[in-house]
């Protein structure tokens, strides 16, 4: 196959490469803001769903269960397309590409976050509940002051893994033309006919950005093992 290599289009040592890299990196900020917003929404949503899943009432637990099972099975790309194109038609809610990306990623991710929260909360020994309730603490006080702080510590590696996943999945928002890293790379690729170089640059940028986070989760896991 006749592919004409042209690494200069993304090389930091050529003028054209520098322009293109600056263009790519301008998308990185949007990648980061999309991912951070999605993670924030997803963590709150996931905790709420997890708490419903621990409720006394069977019906309430059922709602949580259905939410988790349904959203865990929907591919994120499908969700992105559905929220952006489907919501305006079905519910009359029109979201811009950024909001649609945040909602779609957060919805899908919240199901996984909920499972992490549920498992984390359930991993705390019953004695901790006894110790709190016997002193007259309400359920919410015990959860907030005693159970969640301990559970969060155990959950941090899993939550960080999800955050890494969301950073990578934010590229799916390019499917609705959200201007982030991958979308910028698509433009560069089509202008220069050098898709492999452009996408390689995206991969390298993601790697440089996420590798420290991955190392951080290893560090956390080692710490937790040592503490327990």
């Amino acid at each position: 196959m006749g592919y004409t290599w042209g690494w200069y289009v993304v090389s930091p040592w050529s003028a054209k490469g520098q322009t293109n890299l600056a263009f790519l990196l301008s998308g990185l900020g949007w990648t980061v803001s999309l991912a951070l917003c999605a993670i924030a929404v997803s963590v709150v949503l996931g905790l709420a769903i997890a708490l419903l899943g621990l409720a006394k009432h069977r019906l309430v637990r059922g709602v949580s269960r259905v939410y988790v099972e349904a959203l865990r099975s929907i591919p994120m790309l499908v969700m992105v397309l559905w929220v952006f194109y489907g919501l305006p038609v079905v519910l009359g809610i029109t979201l811009d590409v950024f909001a649609a990306g945040v909602v779609a990623l957060a919805l899908c991710d919240s199901a996984f976050e909920a499972e992490i929260f549920r498992a984390g909360i359930q991993s705390i020994e019953r004695g901790q509940w006894d110790g709190a309730r016997a002193l007259g603490m309400r359920w919410g006080q015990a959860m907030r002051r005693i159970i969640l702080p301990q559970a969060l510590k155990r959950m941090t590696p899993a939550l960080t893994n999800r955050a890494i996943e969301i950073f990578k999945m934010s590229t799916l928002a390019s499917a609705v033309a959200y201007v982030e890293l991958l979308q910028q790379a698509k433009l560069i690729a089509s202008l220069n006919f050098n898709p492999i170089e452009a996408y390689s640059a995206v991969a390298v940028i993601f790697f440089v950005f996420l590798w420290p986070l991955v190392q951080f989760t290893y560090l956390l896991e080692r710490r937790l093992k040592r503490d327990e």
């Binding site: 004695g127 006894d130 016997a134 002193l135 007259g136 006080q141 002051r145 702080p149 301990q150 510590k153």
Partner: protein, 244 residues
């Protein structure tokens, strides 16, 4: 004066009847030791007395408050009923002082400075004034259990429930916890103690209650229960214990 009154108390877990009609009256200042083999329902009885376990039927009245009345604010009532557990159940992410002051601040509504002063006083009562800043992980088992006792007495309960407080401790650490319990006894605290610690039952209890298969088989002064038990089950239990 009767401080705690239990009548017709039953507890079922599914088909399994763990408590079969318990009647028990405890006077103000009385020290009760509850003995019985594993699975006789001692711990469940104790856990019903602050409704950590919801009784299936019967009544529990503590300090004039009917714990099973749906209108009773159970969290308010629990401040009057201190409980100490076999596994301490201290909050591992907080210091000893944090453990003692949390309920003072969040349940009793004390200010931080007030709670700190009460918390330090409670730690001093159990001989751990100098460990206020340590986390449970930095303390020995005996010290942890004494922090747990401080945590309970800081709320100034009318009655203290001890659920096998020394069973998880290395033998050389049991003495310090029993010492604190003896001090509490001297101060006139009403206490119900589930324990395998026969020394406490024999020397520090006013009355010994012997349970078997979810019922109170026999009760009496330590002298009677240990020297001249009336019931066959009590005799064989005491006999087994004393052979060890």
């Amino acid at each position: 004066m009767t401080l705690l009154s239990v009548s017709g108390l039953t507890k079922r877990f599914g088909q399994n009847e763990v408590l079969r009609g318990i009647d028990l009256e405890v006077s103000q200042g009385e020290r009760i030791a509850i003995l019985g083999a594993s699975g006789s329902g001692k711990s469940t009885l104790l856990r019903c007395l602050n409704r950590l376990e919801a009784p299936s039927s019967g009544s529990v009245v503590v300090d004039g408050v009917d714990l099973l009345d749906p209108r009773t604010d159970i969290n308010h009532a629990r401040q009057r009923i201190g409980m100490v557990f076999q596994s301490f159940n201290l909050y591992p992410h907080m210091t000893a002082l944090g453990n003692v002051t949390l309920a003072l601040r969040k349940v009793a509504g004390k200010s931080r400075s007030e709670a700190d002063a009460l918390g330090r006083a409670a730690l001093a009562r159990v001989g751990l004034a100098d460990r206020a800043g340590h986390t449970p992980g930095q303390l020995s088992g005996g010290q942890q259990q004494r922090v747990a006792i401080a945590r309970a007495i800081a709320l100034e309960p009318r009655v203290m429930l001890f659920d096998e407080p020394t069973s998880a401790l290395d033998p050389e650490l049991v003495g310090s916890v029993l010492g604190v319990m003896r001090d509490l006894r001297e101060s006139g605290m009403t206490m119900l103690v589930v324990s395998h610690e026969m020394g406490f039952a024999r020397n520090a209890a006013d009355r010994v209650v012997f349970m078997d298969e979810g019922a109170i088989v026999e009760e009496g002064t330590p002298g009677v229960i240990f020297e001249a038990p009336g019931h066959e089950r009590t005799r064989s239990f005491i006999g087994q214990i004393q052979r060890h």
